[in-house]
C-alpha cells in the first residue's frame, strides 16, 4: 500500500486516508476579465502531464482534512517529499540528490 507523509499530522499514513487533488502551484489569474480565451483555457485545462517528478496537491481527507503539496515521481509512484500548502516549491535537484 502506498504510504504518504502528511506534513500537518507529521505521520506517514496509508493512501486510503488521502485524496489526489491535481497539479500544485497553479495560481488563479488576478483578473480573469483581462485574459484571452486561450489564456483562460490554459489556466483551466492545460497541465504539465509530467513523466517523472510532478508537483501535485493531495488532501488528507480522512484525517486532518488539510490540503498539502507533494512531489511524486509519476513513473515509480515514489513520493520525493511532501510539504505544507503555501510553502515554496522545493528544489528538485536537491530532492533527486537526496534519493541517490
Amino acid at each position: 500500500m502506498l504510504l504518504i507523509h502528511c506534513p500537518y499530522c507529521d505521520e506517514t499514513l496509508p493512501e486510503p486516508e488521502f485524496a489526489y487533488a491535481g497539479e500544485a502551484h497553479i495560481d488563479r489569474p488576478a483578473d480573469p476579465q483581462q485574459l484571452s480565451d486561450e489564456e483562460w483555457r490554459d489556466f483551466l485545462f492545460i497541465r504539465t502531464n509530467a513523466k517523472g517528478p510532478h508537483y501535485e496537491r493531495w488532501r488528507h481527507i480522512n484525517g486532518c482534512a488539510r490540503f498539502f503539496n507533494a512531489v511524486r515521481d509519476t513513473v515509480s509512484d515514489k513520493f520525493l517529499t511532501t510539504y505544507k500548502a503555501g510553502e515554496a516549491r522545493p528544489d528538485l535537484a536537491k530532492l533527486l540528490e537526496g534519493q541517490k
Binding site: M1, Y8, C9, D10, E11, L13, P14, E15, P16, E17, N62, G63, C64, A65, R66
Partner: protein, 185 residues
C-alpha cells in the same frame, strides 16, 4: 438502549457471538469546533480544559473531552447536561474569538469494540497501524472506505464513531469479522 430507527434496523439484522464485545452506545453530546489557533486560550477557558494542539491527542476534564483533528479543528465530547453550558460559554466569547461551534451529536453513532482481539478485528477495515495509537488518544481515519473516528480508551478497548448512514455497513462487517475470529480464521 438506543431508540433511533436506523440503529434498530442495523442491530436487528446482524448480531454475532465472537471474542470481541460489540455494542452501540446511547447518543452523547458532540461538537465540532473550528477556531484559529491564535484564539485557543479563550476557547480553552470557555470549555474548561486546555485544548490539545498535536493532531490525534486528546484532553479530558470531568465529563468533557476534546480531540484535536487538525490545526484548527477539535471534536468535543460531553455529557447531555453540558450541552447548554458549552453553547452559552462559547457564545459569550464569540466576538473576541470568532469560531464555529456546531452540534454534531446526531451525525455519528458510537460503537464500542472491546476484547483481546479488538485490534485484530479493527484491522479488517482500518488501514492504519492501531498499535501506534496511544491509549487515551484518538484519530480520524477510514473503516472499509467509511470515514470513522477511533478513540482508544484502553489497550483492548476502542470506541468508533461512524456516520449514521454507514452504520449498517460497518456494523455488519464488524459482526461478520467477529464470527470469523470465533471460527478461528
Amino acid at each position: 438502549m438506543n431508540t433511533q430507527p436506523g440503529i434498530q434496523a442495523a442491530l436487528a439484522n446482524v448480531t454475532s457471538a465472537g471474542p470481541v464485545l460489540l455494542a452501540i452506545l446511547p447518543e452523547a453530546t458532540r461538537f465540532s469546533l473550528r477556531i484559529n489557533s491564535g484564539n485557543l486560550a479563550a476557547a480553552s477557558k470557555a470549555l474548561g480544559l486546555s485544548l490539545p494542539t498535536t493532531i490525534g491527542t486528546r484532553a479530558a476534564s470531568g465529563t468533557r473531552s476534546a480531540l484535536c483533528h487538525g490545526p484548527d479543528e477539535w471534536e468535543i465530547l460531553a455529557s447531555e447536561d453540558d450541552r447548554a453550558d458549552i453553547e452559552a460559554a462559547f457564545a459569550a466569547i464569540y466576538l473576541k474569538a470568532p469560531h464555529s461551534l456546531t452540534d454534531i451529536s446526531d451525525r455519528e453513532i458510537t460503537i464500542v469494540i472491546e476484547g483481546d482481539k479488538a485490534v485484530e478485528l479493527l484491522s479488517v477495515g482500518c488501514p492504519i497501524n492501531l498499535d501506534r495509537l496511544a491509549v487515551g488518544n484518538g484519530k480520524r481515519t477510514v473503516f472499509d472506505s467509511a470515514q470513522v473516528v477511533i478513540y482508544r480508551d484502553a489497550r483492548d478497548s476502542f470506541r468508533m464513531q461512524v456516520w449514521r448512514s454507514f452504520l449498517a455497513h460497518v456494523w455488519g462487517l464488524l459482526n461478520i469479522a467477529n464470527c470469523e475470529l470465533a471460527a478461528g480464521y
